[in-house]
Homo-oligomer: 323 residues x 2
């Protein structure tokens, strides 16, 4: 693949948004007007680890790589800003496919007000996309952190869970009992997860104590939040908001739908805690951002996440693997 | 490799420098106090493309990946700030080796006042390291760009050239006529290229019109500068500052030492242009930053880089391949 040709085509495909980015492509580095605090993450998606080219179009892969980065920005409650993209391109990915990947990324960038401000293309044995995403806030006090959970807080989650994992199962042949439209919706949730940027900002602004995005599932990511905050969280499994269609897929595979909801991952919903007196504010903020919060339990002194079923503690949900 | 264990070991190996970084590892994203302009690049190095594990220790690879990013910051004339690192780790790289890589990177970060503020570890078929580096300046006017060259400017280069390419040749068996110390120095220049951060800031401050770092060699990178500035540059080949030891290695291989100097790449010296009346200021700034500028030619109306030998235009220097 002629690297230079691809780079030029990529530069033509990208648009600078807003007036913060002074220089994007074409120089040694991008130049961005800065104020307040910059909030930056870096994440890679690798063929065979985080996606399969058999089930993901180049545009899906581009979307997913950027969505992952923006989901981190959402979980901090920051405004999305710029993304920097490193593409590792194998011999069997032609220029048209690489451009389609960039266009999938650019479509999400456009919808979220993000500028893809810089990039790098290099040869690689398999397709790999690394995105460093930067968001902005006027002050660090506007953000929500993983370590902000306190005993007495209530804990909740936005939206619904398990759809991305069920969508993967559909891609692998499950979902025979569902309608075509239901299957497509689950697959869309797997291929095109949407970072909860508006919700993240609204929840941080409404007084969320701690927040984290669910990329590996609420069981694993909830545990991370507990660790960083030095608290225990008890969540009622039966309160988990299981997405439509998940029960049918799980039933067909002889699995518990709660496994999909608790350990499926890639839903990119937000787990948050808040002081009980902010409950109404948080609910209103979520509604105004186009989603809702389901309250699942509470934060307590101690350590670690406990997922509690109707008959007391439920141990040993079979998990999904995450790259 | 247990990913979590490695991530924790990496977090322990890293130090936050200065008071800009409010949150580094451990949250969804790093939080950095921002002002003026942020200057950001992203680059990957991939095993078999940009380095060989046979000739580069893990620490060399970590150094190289960060040096590449910081060299972009140097070429803009910005102050180094933060680096975000995505590691793609193959099965045959154990935790100790991955940590050694991070320590090689951290040593360069320490020497340059950079904080490695965030990271990601994922499985990958071959070792790949992507670094997004951010530098800072009080205003965009303090920076030097690729498009700032103007007809009438003089063009020069810092330091000397060809050592990194000659070092690679030594690793492949050349250099029999050199002393052990001379060979080691060339190999060091190949394995541990040093970003010219102090020189970049000093030169931008002294009135450099345009600047670019030489990662692919002055022939290719000079061409990029011409393109972005919309000018022609004529450089006298015989004025190129050829590094010590390059002539011996080139002679042994039956090649022209100027090929190493003009197309060898990975030297990370800076090519710059400046108005002739700033010549003394530029020279003084370079000296104060511990290096020197060799003037090679001038900027003219037109398009493209011309490398001119004693007998007129020299075409067709055999080039080196760059990943």
């Amino acid at each position: 693949m002629p690297e230079r040709e691809l780079i030029e085509a990529v530069e033509r495909a990208l648009t600078v948004r807003g007036d913060r980015v002074l220089r994007a492509a074409g120089d040694d580095a991008a130049v961005v007007r800065a104020a307040g605090v910059a909030v930056t993450s870096i994440d890679s998606v690798v063929d065979g680890v985080h996606f399969e080219r058999a089930t993901h179009s180049p545009a899906d892969i581009g979307h997913k790589a950027l969505a992952r980065g923006l989901s981190d920005i959402a979980a901090m409650g920051a405004e999305p800003g710029e993304a920097y993209v490193a593409l590792g391109v194998p011999d069997d990915l032609d220029t048209a496919a690489a451009l389609e990947l960039v266009e999938g990324m650019e479509a999400l960038a456009e919808r979220t007000g993000t500028t893809i401000a810089g990039g790098d293309v290099s040869a690689a044995p398999v397709l790999a996309v690394t995105v460093s995403a930067t968001g902005w806030a006027a002050s660090p006090d506007e953000l929500a952190y993983r370590d902000g959970a306190r005993a007495g807080h209530i804990a909740g989650v936005t939206g619904d869970l398990g759809a991305a994992a069920a969508g993967l199962a559909v891609l692998r042949g499950a979902g025979g009992e569902l309608s075509e439209a239901e299957r497509e919706e689950l697959v869309r949730r797997h291929r095109r997860p949407e970072p909860r940027l508006a919700a993240g900002r609204a929840l941080a602004g409404a007084g969320a104590g701690a927040m984290i995005d669910l990329s590996d599932g609420i069981a694993a990511d909830g545990e991370r939040l507990c660790e960083r905050s030095g608290v225990a969280i008890e969540l009622r499994l039966e309160a988990l908001p299981v997405a439509a269609g998940v029960e049918a897929v799980a039933g067909e595979l002889g699995r518990d739908p709660l496994e999909f909801a608790a350990t499926g991952g890639d839903d990119y919903e937000l787990l948050l805690t808040a002081p009980p007196e902010r409950r109404d504010d948080v609910e209103r903020a979520a509604r105004e951002a186009g989603t809702w919060v389901r309250w699942l339990g509470r934060v307590e002194p101690g350590a670690g996440l406990r997922l509690v079923g109707p008959g007391g503690r439920v141990a040993g949900l079979r998990g999904f693997e995450h790259g």
